[in-house]
């Protein structure tokens, strides 16, 4: 029963129309960076918002910002997604991945920046891709990423710096 009281007093009055308008593009972009292709990004965005909607009473503002909670759901959805399937790379990018390891600069030349970035992100570790997706997809600050991931802010900065460096070398 005391738990119920805590939920009662800490329940966030959420304006869902506002949340939807503001967070939909960010969550969608998080998955674009996380997974690469639009279809998966749309599927996972749907899953995230449906879970958030169904679990809206579980959101506790004492646990942090609403976006942090939302991205916890999003990141779990991404993990479930990768667990559920073997790595799948869209056909048009598969050839690019196959040749990327040899001469990335030459082989990716001529491709659009988006396609190049999508492919290069797949070469990062899962953790690095997660942080890049939070930073550049969801446009979160390093501090918010630290809250969302449990890493220290300085650690987030270091990992992101190295990940960007790795992308730069392969670009």
């Amino acid at each position: 029963m005391p738990g119920r009281i805590v939920r009662w007093i800490s329940r966030e009055e959420i304006n869902w129309d506002e949340v939807y308008a503001e967070q939909l593009p960010r969550v969608f972009n998080f998955f674009r960076y996380r997974c690469g292709n639009v279809a998966d990004a749309e599927d996972l965005t749907s899953i995230t918002f449906e879970k958030a909607w169904r679990g809206r009473d579980r959101y506790r503002r004492d646990k942090g910002a609403f976006s942090t909670w939302l991205y916890t759901i999003a990141r779990n959805a991404a993990v479930d997604h990768y667990r559920a399937r073997a790595p799948v790379v869209p056909l048009d990018e598969a050839a690019l991945v196959a040749t990327l390891a040899a001469t990335p600069e030459d082989q990716t030349a001529g491709r659009s920046d988006a396609a190049r970035l999508a492919v290069l992100l797949q070469t990062l570790s899962d953790r690095d891709r997660d942080l890049i997706a939070l930073k550049y997809g969801a446009e979160m600050s390093n501090r918010d990423i630290a809250h969302a991931t449990g890493l220290s802010e300085s650690n987030v900065g270091t990992i992101l710096h190295r990940a960007v460096q790795a992308l730069r070398e392969k670009w």
């Binding site: 969608f28 976006s67 970035l117």
Partner: protein, 324 residues
């Protein structure tokens, strides 16, 4: 290196048709305070089950108690505020309680809340005489009134699962007697009346109703149960044991003070003792402070009352003292 990577290259707006389709799908799902009763009760029951289940300790070997020998708890209560650290909140919230003990919770009765338009309707629907504040803050108006449904659940103790919960909470020093296995507790949540008020952007929710009843098998060591509850809330072992033995658990209601609260204290509403918890309202995104919230809880004549608000505390106290 050919050039700097374009790290913004993948960012864009989702397809409008996709956005509209998802929004429509979400809107088809129920929302608002008439959330499914089972969810409320299951969570409530699960929370109680953890506290009750891991605290069950029968002081007599015969545990085949009949319903007539059950103890009725919490008929009259005093509130005791227990500060909870962020770490404890994280630990408890991190447990998947529904998975751990959800199948040990049987919902016997569930009823959704209903909106009403008058005090008379609320009294009729709730089964008790509803009182309302006769004094409201300047410019405040009543905006909503609803009556929660009666919900009843039975929880069956499962010592294996309870040990898992204890272990997950890092409380493995607390033992769960094997004799508990299969014992049941009954929780009844009577209809509560919720009234909403608005004063410009400030809001208040006033809740009133009978105390929820928890019926447990005769012989339960309530002090040990209370000790477990306190430990779950993060109180150190020695302190929890001493405190648990010093209070009457049939009439004591623990109120965890969440980490977001900045202060709490005892107060008087008329002649009844209550507690006030206060804290800042922060913008969910920027975390900038944009006001204060307060919670006033008190009990009188077998009923519990609470006002959660973003109004001034002095106004809230005036409302509480003017109930008729």
């Amino acid at each position: 290196m050919a050039s700097e990577p374009n790290l913004d290259a993948l960012r864009g707006q989702p397809d409008q048709e996709f956005a509209d389709r998802l929004r429509a799908r979400l809107r088809q799902q129920p929302r608002g305070r008439t959330r499914p009763a089972r969810g409320v009760l299951t969570k409530l029951a699960a929370g109680v089950a953890v506290a009750a289940g891991i605290g069950f300790a029968l002081t007599i070997p015969t545990v085949r108690a009949k319903a007539s020998s059950f103890l009725a708890l919490f008929r009259e209560v005093s509130f005791v505020a227990v500060p909870v650290s962020p770490g404890e909140v994280e630990r408890v919230n991190g447990l998947d309680l529904e998975h751990l003990i959800g199948d040990r919770v049987q919902v016997l009765e569930q009823n959704a809340s209903v909106d009403v338009t008058s005090r008379e309707q609320a009294s009729q629907a709730s089964g008790f005489t509803v009182v309302l504040p006769t004094v409201l803050p300047e410019g405040a108006v009543q905006t909503a009134m609803s009556v929660g449904g009666r919900n009843v659940a039975r929880i069956t103790a499962d010592t294996t699962r309870l040990k898992q919960v204890l272990g997950a909470l890092g409380l493995s020093d607390l033992e769960v007697p094997d004799e508990l296995d299969g014992e049941t507790a009954m929780i009844t949540v009577s209809p509560m009346v919720l009234t909403g008020y608005e004063q410009g952007e400030r809001k208040a929710s006033f809740i009133q109703g009978p105390m929820p009843e928890v019926l447990m098998p005769a012989g339960v060591d309530l002090a040990q149960l209370g000790e477990i509850g306190l430990r779950v809330l993060g109180m150190p072992a020695d302190e929890a044991r001493t405190f648990a033995k010093s209070v009457d658990w049939r009439t004591t209601f623990l109120v965890p003070v969440p980490p977001m609260a900045t202060r709490f204290r005892q107060t008087l509403v008329g002649a009844s003792r209550g507690i006030v918890i206060e804290g800042p309202i922060r913008d969910p995104e920027t975390k900038a402070e944009k006001g204060n919230w307060n919670l006033l809880l008190w009990s009188q004549s077998g009923r519990v009352y609470g006002i959660r608000s973003t109004m001034r505390l002095s106004d809230v106290m005036a409302m509480a003292n003017s109930l008729q």
